[in-house]
């Protein structure tokens, strides 16, 4: 009896002499794979997701309205964005939990409800901006947005609920790469590089409505609340642990710098083309002007394609990510494979955001570019709420153990949160009492 049992086992053992060098081989192969994946890691993806419809509109407006004078803002924003994203990525790696999870577990239901409400409003705003982007893009091609927006909304809803979104995602992604064209365009438009250099280093700040509006919009679109949630979830999803966190940290910083570099070129190219000729951006066609040096008369087509791709991409992912966060925080069933009866809050939130986003975008006579900017301002105003939650969590030793912020790093992080808060408050003040600072 025993010997037949042994016969089965021996089937393998006989091969033992082949040696165990295979361990080494498999491990080596896997490392190469990891290095490859890191190129498009969570940090890179999230930071660059900021360059969506609202982002393009905001940066193009900055260039058109203020020329090179606000370029200096990009330096502190790069540092702040990097720090904020890095903190969230680190929390994901250390705890293995999403931001919404941590907020719920550490702050209790009332704070969770408040923060989730802020996130819902901010993300609803961004979703509106994505559908506005779709509207603006389709108008460039002569398609009425009363047709394109509802169609896109329905398409997105079905693609995601039926689980086939991933297949088309790449197409949209590819389309949004058009915005890399701004880099080329910036050089071709022969900007005054010395003026650019001055703009980079000489801070200019005025206590005026238009100035504060732009300021808050730039911050809101670069450091959006959804990005913190998203980068942390992606890190968790990827299964990053403190041991291999170094790579993710690098990815976050490289992604941040890359994203802001693109912003830099968008501002430079719009400043060199639109600001020089005194054009203010009121429509997507205006924004497309800045691509002229590169694409000539195809500038509008190119811009339209990019805008459509980027908007479709975010219009699907953003409502979905929001629905995940809210279900996560409140402890409800989640997942696109669930039915409405199983996961009412999850699918309800998702559907609500898509529907509201599309509905607002087709309100007649909507000043599209203005709406894009306003949604970014809302983002900026709600950002402090999320930032303070992040800071409290990342400095909690019970959550982070020895991975809490270091003192200098922490100072920079708090400074970011405080400056953003002050700017938001100033903006609200000046909106409510336009003459408070003596201008206008």
């Amino acid at each position: 009896m025993a010997e037949q049992g042994a016969a089965v086992r021996a089937a393998g053992r006989r091969l033992m002499r082949r040696g165990a060098q295979g361990v080494r081989r498999t491990v080596a192969r896997r490392k190469r794979l990891l290095a490859y994946v890191a190129i498009l890691g969570p940090g890179m993806i999230t930071a660059n997701a900021g360059n969506d419809a609202g982002g393009i509109a905001t940066f193009a407006s900055v260039g058109a309205d203020f020329g090179y004078s606000l370029l200096w803002l990009l330096i502190p924003i790069t540092i702040s964005l990097g720090i904020v994203q890095e903190m969230c990525a680190r929390m994901g790696a250390v705890t293995g939990k999403g931001l919404a999870d941590l907020i719920r577990e550490r702050f209790g239901v009332r704070w969770t409800a408040l923060i989730m409400l802020a996130l819902l409003i901010a993300n609803a705003g961004v979703t509106v901006s994505e559908f506005v982007g779709i509207a603006a893009a389709s108008e460039l091609f002569g398609v009425s947005h009363y047709v394109s927006v509802p169609l896109s909304a329905i398409l997105i809803w079905f693609l995601i609920v039926k689980g086939s979104y991933k297949k088309v995602e790449r197409v949209f992604l590819l389309m949004s790469l058009v915005f890399l064209g701004y880099i080329v365009s910036a050089f071709l438009s022969r900007p005054d590089w010395s003026a650019v250099a001055v703009g980079m280093v000489r801070p200019e700040f005025k206590l005026e409505y238009a100035f504060l509006f732009t300021f808050v919009a730039v911050i809101g679109t670069t450091i959006s609340p959804y990005m913190q949630v998203y980068v942390q979830s992606s890190v968790v999803e990827k299964g990053v642990t403190p041991d291999d966190y170094g790579k993710t940290k690098l990815d976050v910083w490289v992604g941040t710098i890359f994203a802001l570099l693109i912003v830099f070129f968008i501002i430079v190219s719009t400043a060199a083309t639109l600001h020089k000729s005194g054009i203010q951006i009121t429509s997507a066609a205006d924004a497309a002007h800045a691509l002229r040096p590169l694409a000539g008369r195809y500038a509008q087509t190119l811009f339209g394609l990019g805008l459509f791709g980027a908007s479709m991409l975010a219009a699907g992912v953003l409502p979905l990510a929001t629905a995940y966060s809210i279900s996560e925080a409140l402890g409800f069933e989640k997942g696109i494979s669930r039915s409405f009866r199983e996961a009412p809050i999850f699918l309800g939130t998702f559907t609500f955001l898509v529907a509201v986003g599309a509905a607002i975008a087709i309100v007649p006579n909507l000043p599209l570019i203005r709406v894009l900017l306003v949604t970014q301002v809302i983002n900026g105003l709600l950002l402090p709420i999320v930032l303070f939650a992040v800071l409290r969590l990342v400095n909690n030793r019970e959550v982070m153990g020895r991975y809490v912020n270091g003192p200098i790093y922490n100072a920079a992080a708090w400074l970011t949160a405080i400056v953003v808060t002050i700017l938001s408050l100033l903006y609200i003040l000046i909106t409510l009492f336009p003459t408070i600072f003596g201008h206008r």
Partner: protein, 413 residues
């Protein structure tokens, strides 16, 4: 019946009705009981926390707590073995509902007084539970029955309080299918996912790990106590174990391999040299061989007497002679059972059969298994010896799209 949220922050009064402190938390002892008993309160007095043992408390209700003496014994609070604090460690945390096979978040905790004891009877996971805590006091007067999860069905409590995992909970988890345990563990954070696997017995842990993604398997095993990890590896099927070891850093893999029992270790070592995406990497070394000289009856008797029966016995591999690996034929179990017991195997076996070379790409072999509707396929080396078999379940894993599990889609690929 009482909810935790109705008690927290309420006053603690002494015998005279004088307010002496407020309720900060409720302490329960997790143990063999399905419904853990309350062992005391954490009292907040002048911004410091004190321990109030159960026997000092006579009343506990929505108005607060009442002591049985005038003297407040101010013992500073320290957590004892297997105790958890309901507000701190349970409220807002996740737990595994074994009955519903899901991960839920605790919105409130239900406490019932029975036979002079307060016991935790359930976790409120409903929207009403959330509303009770969100709404201002007195506003949440809904008398609707709420969805309360029986505490007896709690299989795992995802809390940071160390050493509170109850023995009984792993038994509850073990009632689930390993596929389900794996899915639930994956839904938790990776720390808690590892804890879930560690709480299981070796065999269930091995089966659960096999259902998890390769990276998770490697991470969980390398974070675990090494002896334990080696024990679990022994229970895993050799091909799965070899895959995990291949994913681990080399020194770690060698250490774990060294700790494994000799037989299981040998099985795994055989499979290590093959690349993941080849037939050799896909195959397992558990299969049954029979010498061609046997009769059908003798073969069946051998199968019956076998000490360890491999999972895959639907195909039996006929070899030249005892102790030989030269494959000469394959018999389906069905033909063996239906055949006359006196017939020699040679006459029942099929000599024409699908086979694979160890270097053949895994995908091609998997496709062949699907095309020919096979349950397994032997892997043969140059000299005609059988090295192992590839079973249909491993082939399926190759053929099914990687992300058939529904997850948060990434923004970019």
């Amino acid at each position: 019946m009482l909810y935790l949220s109705q008690v927290l922050g309420r006053p603690i009064r002494d015998l005279e009705g004088e307010r002496v402190a407020t309720i900060k938390d409720i302490i329960v002892r997790l143990g063999a009981d399905d419904h853990p008993p309350v062992t005391g309160l954490v009292a907040r007095y002048r911004r410091r926390d004190f321990f109030l043992p159960r026997f000092h408390i006579t009343v506990l209700n929505q108005q607060g707590a009442r002591l049985n003496s005038d003297i407040l014994d101010l013992r500073p609070f320290g957590r004892r073995e297997s105790e958890v604090l309901l507000a701190r460690d349970v409220l807002d945390k996740q737990l595994i509902d074994v009955d519903g096979k899901r991960v839920v978040r605790v919105n409130d905790v239900q406490i019932i007084e029975a036979a002079g004891d307060w016991r935790v009877t359930g976790a409120d996971v409903s929207l009403q539970g959330l509303w009770r805590r969100l709404a201002p006091a007195g506003f949440a007067g809904s008398k609707k029955t709420v969805e309360v999860l029986d505490w007896a069905d709690v299989g795992f409590l995802a809390t940071d309080a160390a050493t509170v995992q109850l023995k009984s909970s792993s038994d509850k988890l073990a009632r689930l299918h390993p596929v389900e345990i794996a899915r639930l563990a994956e839904a938790l954070s990776y720390h808690h996912g590892s804890e879930v696997v560690e709480s299981l017995d070796d065999e269930t842990a091995a089966e659960t790990l096999e259902e998890m993604p390769a990276e998770s398997q490697a991470r969980i095993l390398s974070d675990m106590d090494q002896e334990r990890a080696a024990d679990i590896l022994e229970w895993m099927s050799p091909d799965e174990a070899a895959d995990v070891l291949g994913d681990l850093p080399e020194d770690k893999a060698e250490e774990l391999l060294g700790l494994m029992e000799h037989d299981e270790q040998a099985d795994v070592v055989e499979l290590l040299p093959y690349e993941d995406d080849t037939a050799g990497g896909l195959m397992t070394t558990e299969f049954v061989t029979l010498p061609r000289a046997l009769t059908v009856g003798e073969a069946l008797a051998r199968l019956r007497e076998m000490a360890e029966t491999p999972n895959m016995i639907y195909y039996l591999y006929v070899v030249e002679k005892e102790e030989s690996w030269k494959l000469v034929g394959v018999i389906a179990l069905r033909s063996l059972i239906l055949a006359e017991p006196s017939m020699p195997l040679e006459e029942v076996m099929r000599t024409e059969f699908q086979q694979a070379d160890p270097e053949e790409p895994a995908k091609e072999v998997a496709q062949r298994i699907a095309e020919y509707n096979l349950l397994a396929l032997p892997v043969i080396d140059d000299s005609g010896d059988i090295l192992g078999i590839i079973t249909v379940d491993d082939a399926m894993e190759i053929l099914l799209p990687k992300d058939w599990r529904q997850r948060l889609p990434r923004l970019f690929g």
